[in-house]
């Protein structure tokens, strides 16, 4: 992929995350902070489909942004074609693993498994 496309994704995911984190914080402020951490309230979040979907999107945005950012740092730290290939595919894999693990949490809580 061309680097400009990757960086458009990087900036786009950052902007998207700012918007969604703002919603996330506003939702926390609709009740007292300590209440927001009550077991029932946390579970209720996941049962509320639009909010659960938003968390899923936020998870994707931040996984992509964070691991691409880490990829950039590592590419600047050391060079070499094998190393760079490892970093590129490694960060894609890390994004996938984190998104899969986070989605599992969102899904299980949403379906009331835990």
């Amino acid at each position: 992929m061309r680097e400009s496309i990757i960086m458009k994704i990087h900036y786009g995911t950052a902007l998207g995350a700012v918007a969604l984190v703002a919603v996330h914080i506003l939702m926390r402020m609709s009740q007292k902070f300590s209440d927001s951490l009550q077991y029932q309230n946390v579970i209720a979040n996941y049962h509320f489909l639009p909010y659960a979907l938003m968390l899923e999107v936020l998870l994707i945005l931040l996984s992509v942004h964070g691991f691409n950012g880490l990829r950039v740092i590592l590419l600047e730290l050391k060079q070499g074609s094998t190393y760079e290939k490892m970093i590129n595919y490694g960060s894609l894999a890390a994004m996938a693993v984190l998104i899969a693990y986070g989605s599992r949490t969102i899904l299980m809580a949403g379906m009331g498994v835990s």
Binding site: E3, S4, I6, L75, E76
Partner: protein, 259 residues
């Protein structure tokens, strides 16, 4: 790092300079190394008579003339035009011929080779990569027709057209910007501010048709996106070039803000 030698100017040399102005004596510390012989960096110290107009390059040449001819330093024009004499002077990248000892406000002047370049010997560094990256930017007007054939006319450019790239054409390839750049310090494949500023110089020239070719070259994993807005390149440029701005303007094309 050890001090390997200390030399003092002879009384005769001192009195020669006294006739032309007030003479101070400063300590010039020159970093000396020879990596190909496995010789690590040490500092040689010299006492140098200086006047208020003496440049750092002149102080180094004084050492070569009077104390130690073997100090390796690259220079040519002595007037900030050739881009040969870039080095670290009291820690900051600058042209030795364009830095007066008096403006440094210190009696001890330390000169070291530029960062982010392989050292050849002492103050002389290897420009191979800078020149090769500069060439990759296709630093010439790209278009089918020519203005130099007998039947052709020169390409017209208004003062406003010229203004768009003029400052970037002042680059003398001294490499100070690259030596100040924090990305260059770890990413040896990074094109660097010098090359990127030159890519912009030609992309912004309305006589040029090679924009897409150049944008393709800089849109690489070690290209323009590895700049993180530190701005130290523009801070150290002795010719008033603003590579950091060139990089942001080039990004405008790649992000679709500019056509």
């Amino acid at each position: 790092m050890a001090v390997v030698e200390t030399s003092k100017p002879s009384e005769e040399l001192k009195s020669n300079t006294k006739t032309t102005g007030q003479t101070n004596t400063i300590t010039l510390r020159i970093a000396r190394s020879n990596p190909s012989e496995g010789q690590e960096s040490t500092f040689a110290e010299f006492q140098i008579p200086v006047q208020k107009w003496t440049t750092v390059l002149e102080a180094i040449l004084y050492v070569k003339q009077n104390f130690d001819h073997s100090v390796a330093v690259r220079y040519s024009c002595r007037q900030a035009s050739c881009g040969s004499c870039g080095m670290k002077i009291n820690g900051k990248p600058a042209l030795a011929c364009y830095t007066k000892v008096s403006e440094l406000n210190s009696n001890v002047i330390t000169v070291e080779p530029m960062n982010n370049f392989p050292i050849i010997r002492d103050l002389a560094v290897d420009f191979k990569q800078l020149i090769s990256n500069h060439k990759k930017m296709k630093p010439f007007i790209i278009r089918e027709d020519s203005e130099v054939t007998p039947e052709s006319k020169e390409f017209i450019q208004t003062p406003q057209d010229l203004e768009k790239f003029l400052q970037f054409s002042y680059c003398i390839k001294c490499g100070l910007c690259n030596s100040a750049c924090p990305t260059m310090a770890t990413d040896e494949s990074f094109i660097g501010p010098q090359g990127l500023a030159q890519a912009y110089r030609y992309v912004a020239d309305n006589r040029d048709k090679g924009k897409d070719e150049r944008l393709k070259v800089i849109d690489d994993s070690h290209g323009i996106w590895r700049c993180h807005f530190a701005g130290s390149c523009s801070h150290v440029c002795p010719k008033g070039v603003d590579p950091a701005m060139a990089i942001q303007l080039l990004r405008g094309y790649l992000l679709g803000f500019r056509k």
